[in-house]
């Protein structure tokens, strides 16, 4: 596989969320606004990339029987670091993300990439694969965050777009329902629908 493909494929043909169906939990829960979605996307990218790199460096020394627990220890160490950094620098976002930062540990993307890729590839390729998958996950998060914040609360990154456009004066109302949990699921369903009708070979 070409090096470039490692970064490119996760954006479309091998997207972790819409094609591999991994890491759904956090993807839906943190996307009511754009800012936490971006922070979450970056945190996951950092964790996947570094965990892939470390596990790939260790892959020949890990006994296969206990590999899951070794992977969990590496990942939880990285997540604790990310969690402490978020609490130190962006405390308000870290409060919004609440338990979902901790849940990066059991995010299936992380474990999935470790098992499927890092255990059998060289460190450099694994690092790129981690970055590619983290960003592929991030793209979906940003799309969801954008749509849900714009139509749900009429703002983007906290900036009142709809109000500045003067839409409220002519009778526009925010669709509060789109911030609710079920709407996130339906939006992901629609994204999958659009993607699969453009790529027929992804259909089941």
């Amino acid at each position: 596989m070409k090096i470039f493909d490692l970064i490119k494929l996760p954006f479309n043909k091998n997207n972790p969320v819409t094609v591999q169906v991994l890491g759904i939990c956090s993807c839906l829960a943190v996307t009511a606004q754009l800012k936490p979605a971006v922070v979450m996307a970056l945190s996951v990218t950092v964790v996947v990339a570094l965990a892939n790199l470390i596990i790939s460096l260790l892959r020949n020394t890990i006994p296969p029987r206990i590999r899951i627990i070794v992977q969990l220890v590496v990942v939880s160490t990285l997540v604790i670091l990310v969690n402490q950094i978020l609490m130190a620098f962006v405390y308000d976002v870290s409060k919004q993300l609440s338990v979902y930062v901790g849940l990066i540990i059991t995010n299936c993307i992380v474990m999935g990439r470790l098992e499927a890729f890092a255990m059998s590839h060289k460190p450099m390729e694994s690092l790129l694969d981690g970055i590619g998958n983290g960003l592929g996950y991030g793209v979906i998060l940003v799309i969801l965050g954008f749509v849900r914040e714009l139509f749900g609360s009429g703002t983007l990154w906290g900036y009142p777009v709809m109000e500045k456009l003067g839409l409220y004066k002519i009778g526009y109302e925010n669709n509060g329902f789109i911030i609710m949990a079920p709407m996130a699921l339906i939006l992901v369903g629609i994204i999958i629908w659009i993607q699969r009708s453009r790529n027929k070979d992804l259909c089941e």
Binding site: V21, C25, L72, T106, M111, L185, I186, W193
Partner: protein, 204 residues
Amino acid sequence: MEYFNIFVKSIFIDNMIFAFFLGMCSYLAVSKTVKTSLGLGVAVTFVLLITVPVNYLIDKYLLSPGALAWISPSLASVDLSFLSLILFIAVIAAIVQIVEMVIEKYSPALYNALGIFLPLIAVNCAVLGGSLFMQQRGYANIGEVTCFALGSGIGWLLAIVGIAAIRERLRYSAIPPALKGVGITFIITGLMGIAFMSFMGIKL
């Protein structure tokens, strides 16, 4: 009465799937038939029921600020809460392993029924999520924590059995090819979530 309230609340209102999207990965992957999803649901409930109270005791007597005071008063200022993530996941992995061995020894029939699902539960985010919510919401005593754990497990079980029953029927319906499989499952989960929203605000 408080116990019953927490129990009902965690089944219907704070449902793991419809309100917090926890355990979505196995929810989507294993919900093809009612029988297997029932097995996984029972296993998750069982593991939640054991791990959450154990993690509550660990949190209360080892990790939270000043918790070590029962060993000696000089330790009263120690705050180990940053270790909670790694300790929780270690406890979960260990307990899943022990539960697996105990079931294998004393009830081979149940072991065969649950078989492949048991080891997977260690990385199910609903289980770690249960422990993290327990820490965040500050339940008063171990009774409340147990009710919360049992309720969350049963809520997850209801959700996965419900979607599995619907998916068994969906096989015979005419769905656009691009929406088949994952896409329609997301949208139906969203609709089920809307139905569960009607429980919001119930207080017993």
